[in-house]
């Protein structure tokens, strides 16, 4: 069970000041602390030592962390939604999953994309692979989808070259990775794609919405006090209008997330768009200040863009189209 709130955790473990965690990154200790408080095994199955919680508290935790530090929300997501959905499928994986939930193992995942510049050579025993983009919280093992769509669990011999300044979620580990004669297991086809598209739509929505709400709330507070032409920014109609419309959208999405009746795919698309709009607008209305890390605003814009790139691209769109027309569409 959870032994604390996101707010408390962040206050205790996350360095304060200019985009604190972006500089230090998510350390082993921080991951350990997250695990001890129960955030890393919330949704893991009992066989892997998990709490097997419902979706509701999970979404709440993701949403709350994303308000303070989206990178931690993303780490929680990777463990509880990605690792859990893949590794829980077979016995050998359960052990690694349990250790991941306990903060003892870290892993990287290669976000599935038909256009990734990845290469694979494997036989029944071992795997050689090069992955152009991976992210995660450690390099003890790796989850990746090969060119045939098989989801692979790569157990050892992983080399990782870290990107010094990726666009967003900088507290996580981003980089290129290589497997060299690595032991691996093939877990199933299309599982990773499924996890990254519809599988974690509501969880992704919760993170995106958290970022959006933070951007909106900070902008509301700032425009109340910041004056131009001797007038608070909020008293300029277009400023008030743009913020109001976004707040409206956030409230609707919040209500939609609570209602089980609204389609998850739908929520994800709209939440991703809103996060990008709200964070871009936040930078704009914070003016020069918004452009500097110290204000903690520009980071929201970068993180939102990464969310959109990872979960809201043109390929994910096709799934949405299919739902609308109850058949394939959008493809000739």
């Amino acid at each position: 069970m959870l032994k604390g709130s996101a707010k408390e955790f962040v206050a205790k473990y996350v360095p304060q000041g200019e985009n604190g965690l972006e500089k230090s990154g998510i350390t082993k200790d921080l991951t350990k602390a997250l695990a001890e408080l129960g955030f890393l095994n919330m949704c893991l199955p009992a066989e892997a030592g998990g709490a097997a919680l419902d979706e509701e508290p999970y979404l709440a935790v993701l949403g709350e962390f994303s308000k303070y530090e989206p990178s931690i929300a993303m780490e929680i997501l990777l463990v509880n939604s990605v690792a859990a959905s893949i590794l829980s499928k077979f016995e050998d994986g359960l052990q690694a999953l349990a250790k991941t939930g306990a903060g003892e193992l870290g892993f990287i995942v290669s976000p599935p994309s038909p256009y990734a510049r990845n290469s694979f050579h494997s036989d029944h025993v071992s795997l050689d692979a090069e992955l152009s983009v991976v992210l995660g919280n450690g390099t003890d093992y790796m989850i990746v989808s090969d060119l045939d769509g098989r989801t692979l669990y790569v157990k050892d011999e992983i080399r990782f070259k870290r990107f010094p300044r990726p666009l967003g979620f900088r507290a996580l580990q981003w980089g290129k990775a290589e497997a060299k004669k690595s032991q691996y297991e093939s877990v199933g086809k299309g599982m990773l794609e499924e996890a990254f598209s519809s599988g974690m739509s509501r969880a992704v929505s919760s993170i995106a919405l958290g970022i959006a709400e933070t951007a909106i709330d900070k902008t509301i507070e700032y425009t109340k006090v910041r004056k131009v032409f001797n007038t608070p920014l909020k008293d300029f109609g277009p400023v008030a209008g743009a913020i109001s419309r976004m707040k409206v959208e956030a409230e609707l999405l919040r209500s939609g997330l609570a209602a089980q009746s609204v389609d998850a795919e739908i929520l994800r698309h709209k939440a991703l768009d809103l996060a990008l709009d709200a964070s871009r607008t936040a930078v704009q209305y914070h003016g020069g200040y918004g452009y500097f890390e110290a204000f903690g605003i520009e980071k929201l814009y970068r993180d939102s863009m990464v969310m959109k790139m990872m979960f809201g691209g043109v390929d994910q769109d096709l799934l949405l189209y299919r739902k609308t027309f109850r058949s394939d569409s959008g493809i000739i």
């Binding site: 666009l167 131009v228 990008l276 704009q284 452009y291 814009y301 790139m309 809201g312 691209g313």
Partner: protein
């Protein structure tokens, strides 16, 4: 009606593009962005190559566009050392032109413009930095914020308040040329910018900085007018930055689409995104060239200029975002991600998009043609 560049200008465009391709190496792009450092050597190279010359403003515009398409940070950094020069050119005494612009024209000095204040943002008339006349000097006290080149410039064209008397806030402002070597001048480089990290941005404090009276630009009390006149010039060049940034993002998106083959580039949703990007860029470019054409023929049209600046800034941001969306997570560590970070400033500096829209609408309500 003629929408074509002369052969000379086309050749110059080719030259600027080749310069950028050669000198803006990947290492340099990454280095100056990640280190947040000004590329002094590139400034010199660009100067020596004749890329930035105020003998022909069209060439400046072309250079800005081409270099920004290759790398916005380096492109702006290489073309910004002259920032504010038009104020001196238009309103400065012969003495000031000789004393300051000479060194600029020889590529030996860097200048800047100090207008924005910590409390002011877009509100130029809210200027609080004070210059008090004492004998044959002005004594300046106050502070400026977000000043490009602030910590590398040899001198700054500075807006100051010389009189509190007039109830109209934009009266009582004047412009001084202030040497950055003056005692009491302090520039603190601001770090941690989202983008254009190869350019440098400073907070400036003036503490009893003494400025000789001959460093007054034009007449006392006309500072607001001079600065507004300057913005109507500089915004054309900022629009060109936006067009260049957008084109750079588009070029990369098009390459990515092509490299993924027919299965991707043949998709109509992908094609629509490309078409929408290109149409916006084309519209912003043509409008920018129109604004430039009026300006360079000494018939500036501030309405069209503000339209161009606003549209170009919006386009840069739109195209950069859409390019990343097309590229997907593969672009998390790439040219495109840097361009995305660089683009946003174009809606903020030299008059935010909001300010441009107010300029436009107020001119429209006054009945001005567009």
């Amino acid at each position: 009606m003629d929408f074509k560049f002369s052969k000379e200008h086309e050749e110059f465009r080719e030259k600027a593009r080749n310069f950028g391709k050669k000198e803006f190496t990947n290492d340099r792009k990454v280095h100056f962005d990640s280190e947040e450092k000004y590329p002094e050597e590139l400034r010199k190279l660009a100067y020596e190559s004749g890329l930035v010359t105020y003998s022909d403003p069209w060439k400046v515009l072309i250079a800005i566009e081409e270099l920004c398409a290759i790398d916005p940070g380096l492109g702006i950094a290489s073309t910004i050392p002259y920032f504010g020069a038009e104020v001196l050119l238009l309103f400065g005494s012969d003495l000031l032109k000789e004393k300051y612009l000479g060194r600029i024209n020889e590529g030996k000095a860097i200048m800047g413009l100090a207008v924005t204040e910590p409390s002011g943002g877009s509100d130029v008339a809210g200027c609080r930095t004070k210059a008090e006349r004492k004998g044959n000097k002005y004594v300046v006290n106050g502070s400026k914020m977000f000043i490009s080149n602030g910590n590398i410039a040899d001198f700054l064209i500075t807006l100051v308040r010389t009189s509190d008397a007039d109830p109209k806030r934009h009266h009582g402002l004047s412009v001084l040329v202030i040497d950055t070597s003056s005692p009491g001048f302090k520039a603190t480089k601001l770090t941690g910018k989202l983008g254009v990290r190869a350019t440098t941005t400073s907070e400036i404090v003036f503490e009893n900085v003494e400025v000789p009276e001959e460093n007054l630009v034009g007449e006392v009390g006309k500072g607001f007018y001079y600065i507004m006149t300057f913005f109507n010039i500089s915004r054309v060049f900022v629009a060109a930055q936006g067009v260049g940034v957008a084109q750079g993002a588009f070029n990369r998106a098009l390459e990515i689409a092509k490299s993924r083959g027919e299965k991707f580039s043949g998709r109509e949703d992908v094609q629509f995104i490309l078409a929408e990007m290109a149409t916006k860029i084309k519209a912003a470019r043509t409008l920018t060239l129109e604004a430039a054409s009026y300006l360079f023929n000494f018939e500036p049209n501030p309405t069209v200029t503000s339209m161009a600046k606003q549209l170009a800034g919006e386009t840069a941001v739109y195209v950069a975002e859409k390019a990343l969306e097309l590229a997907g997570i593969e672009a998390v560590n790439s040219d495109l991600e840097r361009i995305f970070r660089d683009a946003k400033i174009l809606e903020i500096w030299e008059g935010t998009s909001e300010i441009e829209k107010l300029v436009i609408s107020r001119n429209l309500l006054k009945g001005e043609a567009f």
